[in-house]
């Protein structure tokens, strides 16, 4: 994009950023759930007070500057010097008013802290998140072991219910952040941090790792998809279903390639692939993105990613050129059946 064609929209964006959110999926100027909304209200409140303070000070400063300006400094003659006293009322009044505003803000902050740190009701659903360079492993737990499953990078939650997240890291510090639903919670190795999310309305909420975690920190995104309770139940059932055995010859060949080259790291439920280093690929094609939110999940992107992950995400643990040529076509064909 040239400078000319971006400047105009950028001014427009500045003007609209408070009202239009579809263009800015990471914006938390407006949020969509009880874990984020009180923060958003407090943020707007403190932001408004801050802008008011800046405006008042700017007016006072400009007033002071042009009130008694000394026109020219003469080079040799000594200038007049004002007396030492006077002006203290400014400090008394200014600090006094600031203190009153400050105390109100502190009270509001404490109340909001108490509200957002804990969900209003006990969450029925717990998702265990394991952050690792540079993707998210997700484990949906359940009292019934047969309804427990593992997936990656795409979190589904039912709307209108708080969901508990247990955050762990197996390598470095990351931070779990879905701005339109809630604030951040760091993911720190050696401890399990707990947070919660709740969405008021169905939709896709983008998230991203927020603590620098190595070279590809920029490409460690995730998505939270809030479904109606019925859709969520259907999604869960889909995830629990075993992927069908391969039908066509190519797909069978693809599965063999996968087993030979990919299964050491990746698992697919219902097949012999049971690696745990990389993301679980069961029902891969039901996901919207690849490589932790880096690419839209299309067969073309999938083939490109498998052939050459290091050019998109240098340093990722997945090596380049594991499969190529007809093997690549076959393995993509196979993965395409994992709906």
């Amino acid at each position: 994009m040239s400078a000319r064609c971006t400047l105009v929209p950028s001014v427009a964006l500045l003007a609209r950023s408070a009202t239009t959110y579809a263009d800015t999926p990471m914006s938390y100027l407006h949020t969509y759930g009880p874990a984020g909304d009180p923060i958003t209200r407090l943020g707007w409140g403190l932001g408004t007070i801050s802008i008011a303070v800046i405006s008042v000070i700017a007016v006072l400063l400009l007033g002071g500057l042009f009130r008694h300006r000394t026109e020219r400094a003469s080079d040799d003659a000594q200038l007049a010097v004002g007396r030492e006293g006077g002006g203290m009322a400014w400090i008394y009044v200014g600090v006094g008013v600031s203190t009153v505003v400050l105390i109100i803000c502190m009270g509001w902050t404490l109340v909001t802290t108490a509200i957002v740190l804990h969900p209003p009701s006990t969450p029925a659903l717990t998702v265990q998140v394991v952050a690792t360079q540079w993707w998210w492993r997700l484990r949906y737990t359940s009292a019934n072991p047969s309804r427990t499953f593992t997936t990656a990078n795409e979190i589904h939650i039912p709307v209108g219910q708080p969901v508990r997240f247990e955050l762990a890291s197996v390598d470095v510090i990351h931070s779990f952040w879905v701005p339109q639903l809630s604030g951040k919670m760091d993911v720190i190795p050696g401890q399990t941090n707990v947070t919660w999310l709740e969405a008021d309305k169905p939709g896709v909420y983008r998230g991203q790792c927020a603590v620098f975690c190595g070279a590809e920190h920029a490409r460690m995104a995730l998505e939270v998809i809030a479904d109606t309770p019925v859709d969520f139940r259907a999604w869960q059932d889909d995830q629990l279903r075993e992927d069908p055995p391969p039908g066509s010859v190519t797909v069978r060949a693809g599965q063999r390639v996968f087993q030979a080259h990919c299964a050491a790291c990746h698992a697919i439920r219902g097949s012999d692939a049971a690696g745990i280093v990389g993301p679980d690929l069961s029902h891969l094609m039901s996901r919207r993105t690849l490589a932790a939110g880096s690419l839209p999940n299309t067969p073309g992107n999938l083939a490109g990613w498998i052939a050459d992950p290091q050019s998109l995400k240098p340093g990722a643990q997945m090596p380049d050129h594991l499969v190529s040529g007809p093997d690549l076509t076959a393995v993509v064909e196979y993965l395409n059946t994992l709906q």
């Binding site: 800015t24 002006g87 919670m185």
Partner: protein, 646 residues
Amino acid sequence: MTEVETFRAPLVARATDRSRSSQILEQNWKGPGGIAGWLSTVDHKEIGKRYLVTAFLFLLIGGIEAAVMRAQLTQPNEHLLTAEQYSQLFTMHGVTMIFLYALPVLSGFSNYLWPLLLGSRDMAFPRLNAFSYWVFLFAGIFLYVSFPLGAAPDDGWFNYVPYASRAYNPGINIDVYALGMVLLGISTTVGSINFIVTLLRLRAPGMSINRVPILIWGTLTASVGNLLAVPAVSLAFFMLWMDRQFGTHFFDVSAGGQPLLWEHLFWMFGHPWVYAIVLPAMGIVSDGLPTFCRRPLVGYTPVALSTVTAMVLGFGVWVHHMFATGLPAIAMSYFSATSMIIVIPSAVAVFSWIATIWTGRPVFTSAFLFFAGFVILFVIGGVSGFMTAAVPVDLQLTHTYFIVAHLHYTIIGINVFPVVGGIFYWFPKFTGRLMNETLGKWTFWVMFIGFNVGFFPMHILGLVGMPRRIYTYPEGLGWGPLNLIVTLGSYLFAIGVLMFVVNVLVSLKRGKVAGDNPWDGPSLEWSTSSPPPVYNFAVIPTVASRYPLWEARLHQGDDRSSTRQGFLLDKGRETMGTTSLDAEPDVILKMPSDAYSPLLLALALAALFVGALLHSWWLLGAALVVITLASIAWLWPQRSLSQIET
């Protein structure tokens, strides 16, 4: 001889730089000159200038790094830099600006100005002063040596473990940072000690503690803060280096180590450090504004006390960098409240500056424009900090470009603007020549507009969710247009900085010749020549008020300060030691002559750290031997210092 020399009744005389007695002083204080003089000088003015120039060079290097990063971020999916290059750039940019520019540049001002403001002939420990500079220079070079090799520190200036541990970062990158920071910490520590002792012992007779300029309060407060804060970070980096090189487990999760221990130690240091790099700069403004507003500062005492208060509170706020780490709510609420209360001392300073401008008669010089512009930038940086102090709001703001905006408003707004204004103000004292005022005013507007266009939109970028430390971002997030504006604005700001550099270089040779006191300033540095003679003052001044050169016009009391008549102290390098609070004359201090031992010790210390970095144990051993010898040479008793009985 000791008794006679240091407790003799000193001669009181009337003298100026032009007097015959001053020739004796000139001989006593003049160094050998040439290369030898350059390497061995302990003159605080030389050292101060070196600090200023070196810190400014680092500012330019850090600025180039920023410019490259901005090019990468101008639009989505840019491919100018690799992820690893970007990591090294943002790390070195932060390290450079925070450690190699922001504090050293203030040390430069303070080293040059303290003895002149206090009416002394040097700092308390001149050789330690030289040592402090050399160690700073070598630490800076040390931190940069691995950059051309593509192995610079790459985990951010905050250097969180475990990413900084050997398992995830096996190269030399982090070792360079760890050892470089321990080395730099030595410089900061000895420099701080020097400032504190100088304040307590080397003020002119009569300059009681409530008469020192606010810059002195700022640097004193920062120095005490550094003494308490630097050990935390030196220890943390040493522990990290031990973990990396010798398999200790301070931060090793698999052996029960704690990543949060690093965060606590780092921010326990990091936040006080932030105040250390702004309080002296606020002092520059508090001392500069009165000169250009033609009246004393409104509320000297509250401003001095608020300086100290901010620093004290600054030790109780570090957890606001860690609100998202899962700490208990009660602990976070405490740190949140302390962070917010800093509004109060900040408000004292802001309303004092506004009252000084409002009740004064401002003279619109370049320096004044920078000071006045600083006031509004201070407020913007202050209120954004206030927003991040609120725990829940910070859970959204932290780790985003909102914080990047906030910290640049504090470091550029509260450090760079006063520093540039301070150079305009004191350049005639440093060099004897004035800077170009017309170019100066243009420079202010280019820097002020460029800065706000470049950095204000970063707040909005943060609010629309752009995280920090990402080397690229996809389309469709709405970040592209704002990033373009940020890049263009920051380049405009860079042009302003270059205009300033050109002004300095041209004015050095061609600037209008300044008299002793071109701005009609009130404090002692304006009573001596521009540039000052090597001995600073022909006689030790006596001080009767906060504004010695304005007394006649302020009509306060009957006592008058005296800059022409005072203790001559011409038997060798001498200055007056005074009592800590009231500044009663107490003892004649014998000051050391120029020496190579500080340079030698600093070189050996640098070699020690290079040896440790390369695991070159013979180099490390040799360095230890030289360190011992240099220390003995340094401390060897000298007759000229009355350390030998006769």
